[in-house]
Every structure is written in structure tokens, then in C-alpha cells.
């Protein structure tokens, strides 16, 4: 987006990208309003196309405060419900300083160096190597780490991972991704509703009462207008999904960069990423939670535009290019109990 020479400019470029993506959400919201207005106007009296479009634009100009107000209300309600859902989905137990002194000290040192209050520390009992940050309010912030990660990564690498998660918390990425999810939800709801012919529950089904005569006289514009509106709704749903994933990827680059800012050790981040890439899978993790982990815990790999994380190679390339990292080490795979093989992932799709 703009030329990045090093860590600072890389961070600024990604922040700019995030702002533009969020602004695109708002623009899409206006497109959605316009398409609803189009449908509404088309179902009124029969008119040629440009008259319908003209009325629709007028409606949006009049009605956008109400629409934005409605969206804001939706946001507040959905936001309040999200914290409970996240906690329920991930099921990790909180850990005290006595139980994991090494980990707690690493986290505390990082927090002190930035003057950030220490989030709650949790350990997930899983052989996979992964970590995530969550919490929508300061009292709720937490960083969770799997048992496998603690067992297989060196202190410097664990510190890099903790730095990554701490940066997510400092950048308020948890709140941002929830907002992006809620936004995407609005478009999904609109698309769903429209393509089911506006069948709201309880038999409420707004339809226009125009007569057939009206429609046959000079009013071919209505069908075209509705077609255009449906296209807009479908496309904005698709684009909102893409925006959400692009936002998630951008924040991951920021978190990697932030981890290097905290630890000054890009090599540890690179070797941690290599180790984690070997076994990040946590089965049964709902897909809406994937964005919060350091690497996607999904059983099937995510690639391209629908990926919540940039590929490990891309992330390492960014660290080498902007953070002065050196990709020296060949990955040393953690030794399983058989000695030499990774333990197989927990349970495949068939049991």
C-alpha cells in the first residue's frame, strides 16, 4: 500500500490497510441500504429504471441516520453476547504464577517493559502447539498457551509467541475481529433474508400491493431494479467475507511485527513459527475462533483469500524483510514418544 522500509513503516502500512478495510465495511453498509431502498421503490408504483434509482437515492439520503442507528444498536447487543460465546468455545483453565513460574515470568517481563497490565494466563491441555489471546474488556484479557507449545519451544521462542499474543491485546485485535465478525453477520443476515423472499418469522412478510395493470404499464424498470438490488446484496455479502479475512491477515502481520518490537528477537519468532507450523491443529475448534490463534488451528488448511492467517512462508518473509530476521535454522521437528515421528493429530474426521 505504501512502501515499507522496516518495522515501523511495515506497521504503519498495515494499520492503514486495516483502516481502509473498516471504511470499506461502512461503504458496503451504504450499498446495502441503497439496495434495500431499490427493492422497496421497485415494489411501489411501476416506473422506469432511472426514476426508481432516483427515489432510492433520495430514500438513502433521508434515511441513513436511522439505518446507521439500527446497525449501531445491533452492534452493541451482539458485542455484549460475544464475550460469553468466546469463553464457552475455548475451554481453558486459568493458571497461577506458582503453577507455571517460567511462563508467568516471561509474560510479566514483556508486560512491564511496555507498562501493560498482565493478562490472565491459561494453559490448554493439548499436544498441539498453538496460542491465542482473547478478551473484550481489560478485566477479561487472557493469553492461552497449549501444553505442546510449552514442551517443544525454547524460552526465547515462547517469549516471541507471548509477545505476539500480547501485541494482539495491545492493538485491541480481539475487539476488532469481533466487530468485523458482527459486520459480516449483518451482510449474511441481509443476504439470507433477501434470498428467502423476506420471510421473517411469525408470518411477517412485507410485500407491495401493486396491481398487475400498474406493472404492465411503462414499468419494466422494477424487475431490473430488483435484479440490481439482489446483485448488490449478494456481492456485498461476498465482499464482506473477504474484508473480514483480509483484516485478520493484516492484524497477524502487525502482531508478528509487534512481537519483534517487544523482544527485539526476530529469529526466535521465525523459529517459533516454523515449529508451530508442524502441528498447530486443535480439532473441534469452531471456525469463528480461528482468527484469534497464532496459527490457524483448523483441521483443513486455509489458503488464499479465505485464510485467517497469512501463510507461514509469507510471515517469515515479512519478518526477514522488515524486521531483520534471518531464517538460519532448518526446522527441528519435535520428537514424539516413538522417537523421530510427530504424534499424529488428535482425531481425524472419521473418529
Amino acid at each position: 500500500m505504501f512502501k515499507a522500509y522496516g518495522l515501523y513503516s511495515h506497521i504503519q502500512a498495515n494499520r492503514l490497510r486495516s483502516v481502509l478495510l473498516l471504511a470499506s465495511f461502512v461503504a458496503l453498509l451504504f450499498a446495502l441500504m441503497f439496495s434495500f431502498a431499490l427493492i422497496f421503490e421497485a415494489l411501489q408504483a411501476a416506473r422506469p429504471l432511472d426514476a426508481i434509482v432516483g427515489s432510492a437515492i433520495f430514500d438513502v439520503k433521508q434515511g441513513w441516520p436511522i439505518a446507521i442507528g439500527g446497525a449501531a444498536l445491533w452492534f452493541c447487543i451482539a458485542f455484549l453476547f460475544h464475550q460469553a460465546m468466546i469463553d464457552f468455545a475455548t475451554g481453558s483453565a486459568s493458571v497461577s504464577r506458582k503453577e507455571a513460574p517460567r511462563l508467568y515470568n516471561l509474560l510479566e517481563n514483556l508486560c512491564i517493559s511496555r507498562g501493560v497490565p498482565v493478562p490472565a494466563l491459561k494453559i490448554i491441555d493439548d499436544g498441539a502447539m498453538n496460542a491465542f489471546a482473547s478478551g473484550l474488556r481489560e478485566s477479561n484479557y487472557s493469553v492461552s498457551v497449549t501444553r505442546g507449545l510449552l514442551d517443544h519451544l525454547t524460552d526465547a521462542e515462547v517469549e516471541a509467541v507471548l509477545g505476539h499474543e500480547l501485541t494482539h491485546i495491545r492493538n485491541r485485535d480481539t475487539q476488532l475481529m469481533v466487530i468485523a465478525t458482527i459486520f459480516a453477520g449483518i451482510f449474511a443476515f441481509a443476504a439470507d433474508l433477501t434470498f428467502r423472499n423476506w420471510n421473517f418469522p411469525y408470518g411477517f412478510s412485507p410485500r407491495a400491493q401493486s396491481s398487475r395493470d400498474d406493472r404492465e404499464r411503462g414499468g419494466g424498470g422494477a424487475a431490473l431494479a430488483i435484479l440490481i438490488a439482489l446483485a448488490i446484496i449478494a456481492i456485498s455479502f461476498g465482499v464482506s467475507v473477504l474484508i473480514r479475512f483480509a483484516l485478520s491477515r493484516s492484524r497477524e502481520y502487525l502482531a508478528d511485527a509487534g512481537s519483534v518490537e517487544l523482544t527485539k528477537n526476530p529469529d526466535a519468532m521465525i523459529s517459533a513459527l516454523r515449529k508451530i507450523a508442524a502441528n498447530p491443529t486443535i480439532p473441534d475448534m469452531p471456525s469463528r475462533m480461528h482468527a484469534f490463534f497464532i496459527e490457524s488451528p483448523g483441521v483443513t488448511s486455509e489458503t488464499g483469500w479465505l485464510a485467517t492467517h497469512p501463510s507461514i512462508e509469507d510471515r517469515i518473509a515479512a519478518l526477514v524483510e522488515f524486521a531483520g530476521g534471518g531464517d538460519f535454522t532448518t526446522p527441528s521437528l519435535p520428537q514424539g514418544p516413538e522417537g523421530g515421528e510427530l504424534p499424529p493429530p488428535q482425531s481425524g474426521p472419521w473418529g
Binding site: K3, Y5, G6, L7, Y8, S9, Q12, V260, T263, K264, N265, A323, G324
Partner: protein, 185 residues
């Protein structure tokens, strides 16, 4: 038409403004990164008296080496300004590597738990100093690139953004890095 020109002027103005702020921020980062190296170097200074005392307990007659290390440490601790500091620190690293080399010749000393712990702390500090210096050099490279690129080059001279210098390895240090302090078990 007028509105379009106004819009372009506003965007250009904002672009220059953000470039200026970016240069200021990057210059601050280089300063902060240099201070961070300082933090690690001071920790090394604090470690040395204990190390010297431990080695003295087993190799009391190596007076020359002790004096050299102590003198170098005091010089480094009192040095002012980045150039003088960098020079003094490289002399200190050279003296330290000599001290460790001397200590390697005394098996009793090598087996001493206190000495081993100090040695591993020293190795850890050397790693942290290296990491801090790499970070500093990266910050300097970024700042210099922004200064010389466009539109930084328009603002740099006018607003007094001078180029920064890298933290260079000098002779004593270069030798010391090649024989980094080893931790024995």
C-alpha cells in the same frame, strides 16, 4: 474543477504531514534503540565485579588480567556519547574474553557453580546486546531509507533530519565475537 484541485492539494498535504511525522517517529526509535543497548551494557558492567572476584579466588596471581578488566569496565561505565561508548565497550569485550580465556585454564574454577552461573549470565547478556544492536541497526537503516526516499528527501534537509550511523563492530569486539564466551558443564 476547483474542488478537485483542492482535494488533490489536501491529500498531498496530508501525505507530506504523515511523512514528516514518520521521520520524527523513526528518528526517535533509533534514539530509543540506542538507549536499549545501553541498558544491556550497564547490566554487563554490574556483572563484572562479581566475576572478577570469583576468578580471583582461584587465580589470584593473574593480576594483569584483572586490572585490565577493571580498568576497561570503569572506562566503559564513565564514557560519554555514542562514539566514546562504542569504543570503550569494544575494549571491555576484548578484556572480558581474555579473562574468560584465563579462567578456562583452571579446572577448579571451571567446576565452580558460581562461576558457571556468571558465565551463562554473561553469555545471555552478550546475546541480548547483539539482539539490541541488530534492532538498532534495523531502525537506523529504516530511518535512513525514509530520509532518502520520496517524499522524505524533500523534507529531510529543510527540517534537519540528519542521517544516523550504524553501530559498528570494532577490532577488539570482532575478535571477541569470534571466540564468544563458552558455557561449560
Amino acid at each position: 474543477m476547483f474542488l478537485i484541485l483542492l482535494g488533490i492539494a489536501v491529500v498531498a498535504g496530508l501525505w507530506l504531514l504523515s511523512t514528516y511525522n514518520g521521520l520524527v517517529a523513526m528518528r526517535q526509535r533509533t534514539g530509543q534503540a540506542f538507549s536499549d543497548i545501553d541498558v544491556q551494557l550497564k547490566q554487563r558492567h554490574d556483572l563484572i565485579p562479581n566475576l572478577v572476584e570469583t576468578v580471583k579466588g582461584y587465580a589470584a596471581h593473574e593480576r594483569e588480567t584483572f586490572e585490565e578488566v577493571t580498568k576497561a569496565r570503569n572506562l566503559a561505565a564513565s564514557a560519554q556519547g555514542p562514539a566514546a561508548q562504542a569504543a570503550a565497550e569494544s575494549v571491555l569485550t576484548g578484556a572480558l574474553s581474555k579473562l574468560i580465556a584465563v579462567a578456562e585454564q583452571y579446572p577448579d574454577l571451571k567446576a565452580n557453580a558460581n562461576f558457571q552461573q556468571l558465565q551463562s549470565e554473561l553469555a545471555d547478556l552478550e546475546n541480548k546486546i547483539a539482539a539490541a544492536r541488530r534492532y538498532f541497526n534495523n531502525a537506523v537503516a529504516e530511518y535512513n531509507s525514509a530520509r532518502e526516499g520520496f517524499p522524505g528527501v524533500l523534507l529531510a534537509e529543510r527540517f534537519g533530519f540528519r542521517p544516523s550511523e550504524f553501530f559498528n563492530l570494532e577490532e577488539g569486539e570482532r575478535k571477541a565475537v569470534q571466540e564468544a564466551p563458552k558455557v561449560q558443564f
